[in-house]
């Protein structure tokens, strides 16, 4: 049996909104799943189904209301922040808002490298950065020293991916990394994630609302609706033989893409 990287148990997030009259919504309700080493797990669902909520909780950017997250057999509350982020990293949907417009794009890389490799010398850091950029298919001379608005969405997203790789993580949370880039860059990013999985054994939690992409990239699929998991299983089982009405509807709404890969 393959090694389990992370296990999520009964994860629940309740949002309370309203000033006088309060109202609660469940961003996630009793979500449980696990991810194994070298596996790409897709989290699919319509907008507002709680995918980002789950991702943010795993990335420790949001406190769960209830439930546990266990990384490599240890509850994540027991990890030091620094240690935790050497194991788990993430990229988000909107590449532009992931950069502080006040700084050049190097800023995110420098932040990452000064954290994870603070002891190596400058020349070495430079080499590491350009190597990592090469992995994601970019050249330092073309991207470094520029401001975010001078680069394309696809380039920005790949620099962020490079940033994650600087930590050498075991798990990568990719929250709709492809939905704001053009079709060409989308394919590149998807292939990149696949390559990372195959070559470095990185596990990926791939979040998308695009069933085609999920089908293309993942080993297993989880379908979410209104914060709850409604269906799960190996990719082909779920997509070729959906048991839940919701999943069937999702599939029906994207017939052409589905058929192409089926």
């Amino acid at each position: 049996m393959v090694e389990e990287i992370i296990r999520i148990e009964n994860l629940t997030k309740r949002y309370i909104s309203g000033i006088i009259k309060q109202k609660e919504t469940y961003g996630a309700l009793d979500v449980s799943f696990d991810i194994k080493r070298g596996e790409i797990l897709s989290l699919v669902g319509e907008s507002g189904s709680g995918k980002s909520t789950v991702a943010n909780m795993i990335l420790r950017l949001l406190k769960p209301t209830m439930g546990n997250i266990i990384l490599l057999g240890k509850n994540i509350k027991e990890y030091k922040i620094k240690k935790y982020y050497e194991n788990v990293q993430g990229i988000f949907q909107d590449p532009y808002s992931s950069y502080n417009f006040f700084y050049k794009v190097d800023h995110v890389l420098n932040q990452a490298i000064s954290h994870s490799l603070s002891w190596v010398d400058i020349a070495e850091k430079e080499r590491i950065i350009s190597n990592t950029l090469e992995i994601v298919g970019l050249r330092g001379t073309e991207t470094l020293g520029r401001f975010p608005h001078q680069l394309s969405g696809g380039q920005l997203q790949r620099i962020l991916l490079a940033r994650c790789l600087l930590f050498k993580p075991r798990l990568l949370i990719a929250d709709e990394p492809t939905s704001m880039v053009d079709a060409c860059a989308r394919a590149e990013i998807l292939n990149l994630l696949k390559k990372l999985k195959d070559k470095s054994g990185i596990s990926v939690l791939f979040i998308t609302h695009d069933i085609g992409q999920a089908q293309y990239i993942s080993d297993r699929v989880i379908v979410m609706k209104k914060g709850e998991i409604v269906e799960r299983g190996p990719t082909n089982d779920v997509f070729l033989n959906p048991k839940n009405d919701y999943t069937q509807n999702l599939l029906a709404s994207v017939p052409s893409i589905y058929r192409k890969w089926a």
Binding site: I81, F92, S98, S118, I122, E126, L144, H149
Partner: protein, 311 residues
């Protein structure tokens, strides 16, 4: 800037130093970068510096009512003339000289006030939301209290109780009461920034909250902070003038401000040509206000990323 240079700036030894110095250096670099592109801002600042420079060149007089025309014996209530540009008052004081002193001191006063209240506003507006938890609740509670806390009556109250008031005391009183609106508006900016992804990215680089607040958030609300500074400056000068005009200002009489000039010439003991006595300090007040307004709006243009990109 080339890649190598950027890396050089991020030397590990420097990282060990406090995040404040790193942030300051980065902000300084950023400002240097903008300086090249913005002309109005430089001009505004240059004008300001020149004015301040001229004002400091006025001889410091231990007795502020002592005219620079030493030895000249002149009458009280003189109309404007070549010798006394704005005439003299009932106490034979040269009004023009008083206004020069008043202008300089009012500007100093305003800057001091603005520094104090902007610092307080940043502390409560930026760090509150970033430390989070109890500190956040506390800072927003304090802001809310000060928000409705009547500052003018309170300033009146303290000032009228103090037997000996120096201008520093008055400055501290005004400065420590005029920040809440600024803290609140900075806070609301910070709250929207806090949800941006780049904050999440910094968090995933395991940076501390303080470090993130300084290096990621503060540069983004810099325009806002400068705006707050300029407005606080205006509030400081005008409040001080109002208080001094009622005779609640500095008591040492070594620190004439524009308000003091007006108080000294309150309409009850009018001299025959008293209009130019109180009109001129008021006009100077409005002018100072306007200069800072221009600087403030050019700041907005300079630091707004949208206008920057078009360059």
């Amino acid at each position: 800037m080339t890649f190598e240079k950027k890396i050089l700036l991020e030397k590990p030894e420097e990282q060990e130093r406090s995040s404040v110095s790193i942030m300051l250096r980065k902000v300084f670099q950023a400002i240097k970068l903008r300086y090249k592109t913005q002309f109005t801002l430089i001009m505004g600042l240059v004008v300001l510096v020149i004015i301040l420079e001229i004002l400091t060149k006025i001889p410091r007089l231990s007795d502020p009512f002592y005219s620079y025309k030493i030895g000249a014996s002149y009458a009280s209530n003189l109309p404007p003339s070549w010798d006394f540009w704005l005439g003299t008052d009932t106490g034979s004081h040269d009004i023009f000289v008083m206004i020069l002193h008043g202008t300089r001191n009012s500007i100093y006063f305003g800057i001091g006030c603005a520094l104090l209240s902007t610092t307080l506003a940043i502390l409560l507006g930026v760090f509150g939301p970033f430390v989070g938890g109890k500190a956040d609740t506390l800072s927003s509670f304090i802001t809310n209290i000060f928000m409705v806390f009547p500052q003018l009556p309170f300033i009146f109250f303290i000032a009228s109780l103090m037997k000996t008031r120096s201008w520093v005391t008055v400055m501290i009183i005004i400065g420590s009461f005029s920040w809440p609106w600024a803290a609140r508006s900075i806070r609301s900016q910070v709250l929207t920034l806090r949800e941006r992804n780049f904050i999440k990215v910094s968090k995933m680089s395991a940076l501390g909250n303080m470090r993130i607040a300084f290096s990621e958030v503060v540069p983004n609300v810099l325009t806002y902070i400068l705006l707050v500074f300029c407005i606080s400056f205006g509030i400081g000068i005008i409040t001080e003038a109002g208080i001094s005009m009622l005779g609640l200002g500095d008591q040492g009489q070594n620190f004439i401000t524009l308000g003091f000039v007006m108080w000294y010439h309150e309409p009850y003991n009018m001299s025959p040509h008293y209009y130019n006595i109180w009109i001129s300090p008021g006009i100077v007040l409005v002018l100072i206000y306007l200069v800072f307004f221009v600087i403030q709006s050019s700041f907005i243009n300079t630091f707004n990323p949208r206008t920057r990109e078009n360059k």
